[in-house]
Structures are given as C-alpha cells and as structure tokens.
Amino acid sequence: MEVGQMQRQWVDYTKSLFLEGFLDGQFLQLQQLQDESNPDFVVEVVSLFFEDSEKLLNDLTRALEQPTVDFKRVDAHVHQFKGSSSSIGAQRVKNACIAFRNFCEEKNTEGCVRCVQQVKHEYYLVKSKLETLFAMEQQIMAAGGSIPMLELNF
C-alpha cells in the first residue's frame, strides 16, 4: 500500500472514531500539542493513560468485590478515571464513568458492578481502536510519510 493510501485510510479511520463517539475534541487538542519537538506526544500520553487505567480498573474491581463496599473509594476511583479519560478524549469511557458515579452516589452495589463492566468494555474498545490507529501511523512513518493534519468539520 502506498503512503497516500495509508494516509487516507488513517484519516478515514480517525474520522470514524470521532463519528462513533469513541473520541472527542479533546483528542484533537492532544494532536495539536504534537509537533516536531514532541513527535510522539499523543502516543506517549495515551500509553500513560492505558497504564494508569489498568491499575485504576483493577482497584475498582477489587473495591467492589469487598464484603462491604466503600463507595467513597469507588467513587474516587471513578472520578479519577473520568478525569483521565476525558483528558485524552475517550468520550465513551468518560460517559460510562459519569453513569457510574450516579450508582456510587446511590450506593447501589449491583448497579456499580454493572457499571464497572460497562466502563471496562468501553475502555478496552477504545484501547484497541487507538492501538490500531497508532499502528497505522507507524506504518505511514515507516513508509516515509507523515501523519496528516486532521480537519474535522462535522
């Protein structure tokens, strides 16, 4: 596949992520922060997010498995996850966190358990999407091309 084609595919794929709600404008902000002096910024930040999220989700799951659930703690974790996911533009994850917090407030264990599943689901989904995106970027770079600038007018 030649570079131009790869670039177009990349653009289409990125657009679809936005259209489907996986990513939001905040992700664009991250892309804008990337430049020659920080060529891997997005990948770095997102990788950091993945790393942090794994820990967070583990803590969350364990907290909900306790005989007596400490909802404050759970809520704190969810709040944190909401903050980090929104910071990188993982919209669906963020929305799942928002819903999650409601259950925490109600101290609804069952609801929370369902929510954590939902959050995890969304997280793994966006994770795989982003990993695909980054793989495409690497291919483009390897072929000597550059990542196009996104112009989202939708």
Binding site: N38, A76, G83, S87, F154
Partner: protein, 677 residues
C-alpha cells in the same frame, strides 16, 4: 529564578526572570511564567505540562500536594502561579489552596473533572482565583497569566495606598531582606514593590491621608508580630489596643489591628474545626493575605460597605449589624472590620432607598456570616436582607469586592465580607420583591452583591457549610440564588463562560447564544448550577436577572462584583437550555473546539463584564482581565443591554461608583471605632 523542583519538572530555560522582580510585564511576558501544576493523575499531569509548555510557560509538575508545598516553601519566589487538582489522595486540593494562600500568597487555580457547583463554590470560598473543569483545554491555560498580573496589580495598589502604614512596613524591609531565604521571602516581593513606590507613597501619603485611609499591608512579618502579640496576651485577652502596643509598629493604627484581629479570630475558629458550624466565621480567615480573603471577605464586606459607603447606611448601623451578626456567629471582634472596609470602598452611590431598606433590615436581622463561611447561620430574614442589600449593594459590592478581592493584603477582607454577608442576609430576606426592582439597578451585580450574598451563604457551604442555612430559607433562596448562581457563575466564568449562560437565561437570548456560549465545558457546571438555582429560587430573581446588564467598561476589576441576580437567572436558563446540549463533546465539543478556550475566556470576561455578578471576586477578576477578547461574546451582551436599558443606566451609575471604589479599598480605621472588638 528557577525553581529547583524535585519533581523533575522540566522548566525551560527561557524564563523571564525579570518578570518577577517587580516588573509587571517584560517583553516576553507572559512567556516564562513559572507555573507549578499539581495533579495525582499522571495522564492529566503530562497533558497539562505539555500545554503549559506550549504556552511558553515554565512548568514544574508535581503529583503530590506535600511535595508541591515543600517546593513552594523552598522557593518562596520560585513560582508565579499554582494549578492544582481538587481531588488528590494525600491532601485535599483545597487544603493546599489554603496553605498556598496563607504562606505564599500566590494565585491558585483549581481544576477538577467535577463540575458540581458545590465544589466550584468551595474553590471560590477558599480563595481560588479560578476553577477549571477537566478536560482542560489549552485555551484555558493561555490566559492564566492574568491572575498573576491582577494579583500583583492589587498588591501594588495596596502598597501605594497604604501611606504611613506602608512606612511602618517598609521599615521592616531590611530585616526582611536579610531573611530572604526565610519565610519572610514572601514579603520581599512586597518590599520591592514598596521600595519602588516609596516616592509615590510619600507624596501620596500627604494627600491620601485626607482622601482615604491608608491600607495596611499585612505582610508575613507583620502578621507574625501580630500573632506573637496575641499569643503573649492570650487569645482571650488580646484586645487591639494592647496588641498594638506590643507590636509597636509605627504607623499601625488600632483599627488596623482590630480588623486584622477579627479576621484572625475567624481563621482560628475555622481551624479549630468549627468550619462546619454555620456560625463559624473563622472560615473566612484564610490567611493574612488575601487569597481567600479577598474573595470572600470582599464580597461580604462589600455589601456592608456599599451600604455604608453611600452613607445611607450609617456606619453605626452597620456596626450594629455587624456586631449583631458577628456576635451571633462568632466573637464580635469581626464587626469593626467590615464597617471600615465599607467606608473606604465605597465610592459609588447606591440608591438611597435601597440602603434605607437595607439598613432597616440589617439592623433587624442578624448579621450573616459574611465571610467565608460565616453566613451559614443566615436566617431567612437575613437572607432576604442580604438579597436586597446584595442587590443594591450589588453595584457597590462589585466594586468593592473587586477591589477587595484583588488585594491580597487586605486585612479587611474577612471583615468585609462579614458585614456584607450580614447585610445581604438581612436585606435579602425582606426585600426580595425589592430586589426585583432594584435589580435594574444592580450593577452591583457585578457580582458583588450576589457574589457576596452567595458568599455568605454559599461560601459557608463551601467552607464550613455556612451556606446550608441559607438555602433552607425560602427567602434565602432569592439571595442564595444569587449567590449560588453567582458564585457558580464566577467559578464558571473561570472555566466556562458563565456570561453566556446569563445571556441565554431569561430567554432574552436566543438559543443560539447558548450554543455559542457553550464552548467550554466550564459552562456546563454553571448551567447546571443555574438550573438548580432557578428551580429553587423564586421568580423574583428571574425578574432581576433579566434586567441585569452590565457595563463592560465597568469592570475591570469589578467584574466579579457584578452579582446580578438576573444574570444568574439567565444562567439558570441557559443551563437549562444547555441541558440538552450536555457535555457530550461530540456535539458541543466540536463546535467548542473551534471556539477555543480563548473565546471561552474572552466570553467569560465579556460576560463577566456585563454580568459582573457571576464571578465572585476571584473568578471574576480573572475573567475580567481577559475581557477584550470575546468579541463574539460581546455580542451577546449587547443583546442584553438592549433589553435592559435600566441595567445600562444602573451600570453607568455603578461605573462611577465602582471606579473610585476600586481605587480605594481602605478599610482601616473606619467605623471600627464604633464596633466593639
């Protein structure tokens, strides 16, 4: 200077050190602004750092509050501004905020993914100069330098105005300089300023003594002397006269000490865990410097002051009110202060009728905790009074608050806010209806009045839950509405453009406006808040809000003052309108992105200017500075204006009033004598 941060910050080499040494702006400004960002979330921290670097700021990142504090302590003048997350595992962000305000007196911006109004309110009451909602956009960070400039500007103003008191402080300079590395460092900046203004001050002093009372700048050294004297006398036996003698600071008056003592008592009370107590006035005493003070106290103080200033509310009555209020909630020491502040602040006139009413109420009702968390005990009546007074004061307050807030070194802030709260509380309850009528007038709105009221009532909740009582009262609603609405506005303005919301509210503005406004996520919170407020509040507010039209010109500093309840209402509407819009970034975000934070801020400012009321001191201030940008936003305002000729008329009035008020924020010595400490 560059701080040596153990956090591995990547401070860039391109810092404009000159910027800090007393110059307001260098050619590179705001490049090189030294920012300390604290957040336990590594993802956010990394993004923020990158964003700040892109803004050409010198960034130090830190993931623990304790480390951040030690960094700040080691490099007293090593940072210009601090950005901190609210929820952190090792220390609450608000605690860090308090410490920074107290010890270093740096502007602090809070941020969180939490946009709940109570949290934002907390930020306001604790003295944060802004509140950003995550995810933070780079546009929001581009303008943070305004907080630094504003703070410095206010401090300089204080320095210039302090006249003889300044001299006393200046005498301490040599010792302060010698202790550069000690905690006195914090005062060195002031010293340099003072030195710079020495000549001016000398000239001014002669004039100022006749025109305005000099304001005392409570530097760290001075405060330590004060604390030493108090401890020596015993906190119970510490009376201003004796403290003054022990301190032996030339140029310091008994009134200065009295007002500072009042604040200090509140502070102690708050520290001792009474913060949750509605009567806890000490909440307001955040620190000698103003940070929180300015914000809080200025608001409450302004109310009283505005009343007092215009002369309509005799100092005595104010004193009585304050005393009553203060006595009720805490020791009465606080009372004197507010009066003084008010007097000085006021340069603008409030409708006599309004004050008269306010006075009436004030005397009748108990003073609400004006300051930071004091108002909690507000009663319905008080609230009503507040509301009313807030309204009338609104104009006044705005200015006063703006002024007060900005002056970190204001002693009075605590005191000031208190009286105001009281007044507000008192008047608001009774005069709800009046508010509507006076609303037209309120420019006070700049948020002061409402902000103040909000402060009292709201602040408390933020601080010590003082707000709660207010809300319970229906009459309070009116006011709290303002407060809450205002406050949220303020905070929102920071993050979002609250102004926008106001526009949309009342239906004066088309839905379009809202959409425009919606740019930042910050809006969301405000909107939500307003919605709630809207629901709670009575219709009276709505009327008032509608009428609010602020003069942009008015605000410079007084932006925050504009409390206009109507503005709040607007916001409420806008929020409801926005509700549909919700946060989902896909819809709003996309549009917003184009707007960028810059617009957002610009909008906020514009709105802030107009609305004034929203941003309670701190927040407003921030916004106000960035006013120029929001051209698009301004259009909204115009609409508002068009709709409310009254408002513009009022604004004009306030403008006049505000101007002077801003310049004179001298609390000391005024009516304090009347108030028993």
């Amino acid at each position: 200077m560059h701080l040596s941060n153990g956090m591995g910050s990547m401070s860039t080499a391109s810092s404009s050190g000159a910027w800090k040494s007393g110059d307001v702006v260098t050619d590179q400004f705001p490049a090189g602004l030294r920012v300390l960002v604290v957040d336990d979330d590594p993802t956010c921290l990394m993004i923020l750092e990158r964003m700040l670097r892109t803004c050409l700021y010198e960034v130090t990142k830190c993931n623990r509050a304790e480390i951040a504090l030690s960094l700040l302590r080691e490099n007293k003048n090593g940072f210009d501004i601090v950005i901190s997350d609210v929820h952190m595992p090792d220390m609450d962000g608000f605690k860090l905020l308090e410490h920074v305000g107290l010890e270093m007196d740096l502007p602090v911006i809070m941020m969180s993914a939490d946009d709940g109004k109570s949290v934002v309110m907390k930020g306001v009451t604790h003295g944060a100069c802004d509140y950003l909602i995550k995810p933070v956009r780079i546009e929001a960070l581009k303008n943070i330098w305004q907080h630094v400039v504003r703070k410095k500007k206010n401090e300089w103003k204080d320095v210039e105005q302090s006249g003889s008191v300044e001299e006393g402080d200046r005498q301490q300079k040599p010792s302060e300089d010698a202790d550069y590395s000690s905690s006195a460092n914090e005062g060195t900046w002031k010293n340099s300023k003072r030195r710079k203004d020495e000549e001016e001050e000398t000239d001014e002093r002669d004039d100022s003594s006749t025109l305005k009372k000099p304001r005392v700048v409570w530097s760290v050294e001075l405060h330590q002397q004060f604390v030493g004297a108090v401890n020596q006398l015993g906190i119970d036996k510490a009376v201003p006269k004796k403290i003054l003698e022990l301190m032996n600071v030339p140029g310091l008056t008994r009134e200065n000490v009295a007002s500072h003592l009042q604040k200090y008592r509140l502070y102690l009370r708050r520290l001792s865990g009474v913060s949750q107590h509605p009567n806890n006035l000490s909440n307001s005493f955040m620190s000698p410097q103003e940070a929180s003070f300015g914000a809080m106290s200025s608001l409450s103080g302004l109310d009283l002051q505005t009343l007092a200033v215009t002369g309509q509310l005799p100092a005595q009555s104010l004193a009585t009110l304050q005393a009553a209020g203060l006595g009720r909630s805490t020791t009465k020491s606080g009372v004197p202060m507010p009066l003084v502040d008010q007097r000085n602040l006021f340069s603008f006139e409030n409708p006599k009728s309004r004050f008269a009413e306010g006075q009436h109420h004030l005397s009748s009702s108990k003073p609400m905790n004006l300051l930071h968390g004091i108002p909690t005990t507000m009663e319905a009546k008080q609230l009503a009074n507040l509301h009313q007074s807030a309204q009338s004061l609104g104009a006044v307050n705005m200015q006063v608050n703006a002024h007060g807030v900005q002056n970190s070194s204001l002693l009075m802030p605590v005191a000031q806010s208190q009286p105001r709260g009281q007044i507000l509380n008192e008047t608001s309850g009774n005069h709800v209806p009046r508010l509507s009528s006076s609303m037209g007038h309120p420019i006070m709105s700049n948020g002061m009045s409402s902000g103040v009221s909000g402060r009292n009532g709201m602040v408390d909740s933020g601080r010590g839950g003082g707000y709660n009582p207010m809300q319970q009262n229906s009459s309070m609603l009116n006011y709290p509405l303002n407060n809450s609405s205002q406050l949220p506005c303020n905070s929102f303005t920071l993050g979002s453009t609250p102004v926008m919301s106001s526009l949309t509210s009342k239906g004066a503005f088309p839905e379009d406006v809202n959409s425009d406004v919606k740019i930042s996520s910050g809006f969301m919170p405000s909107y939500d808040m307003f919605n709630e407020l809207q629901q709670h509040k009575s219709n009276d507010w709505d009327l008032q809000n509608v009428g609010l039209t602020f003069d942009p010109s008015q605000h410079t500093n007084s932006m925050h003052n504009s409390l206009d309840p109507s503005v709040l209402v607007h916001q409420g509407f806008s929020s409801s309108q926005r509700g549909g819009q919700s946060r989902s970034p896909t819809t709003v975000g996309k549009a917003l992105f184009s707007m960028g934070e810059g617009n957002h801020l610009g909008n906020v400012q514009n709105t802030g200017q107009h609305l004034n009321g929203f941003v309670v001191d701190n927040t407003v201030r921030i916004k106000a500075e960035s006013a120029p940008d929001a051209t698009s936003q301004t259009s909204f305002f115009h609409e508002q204006y068009g709709q409310d000729d009254l408002m513009s008329a009022l604004l004009k009035q306030q403008q006049d009033g505000i101007g002077p008020a801003e310049n004179e924020f001298d609390f000391d010595g005024y009516s304090l004598d009347n108030i028993p400490v």
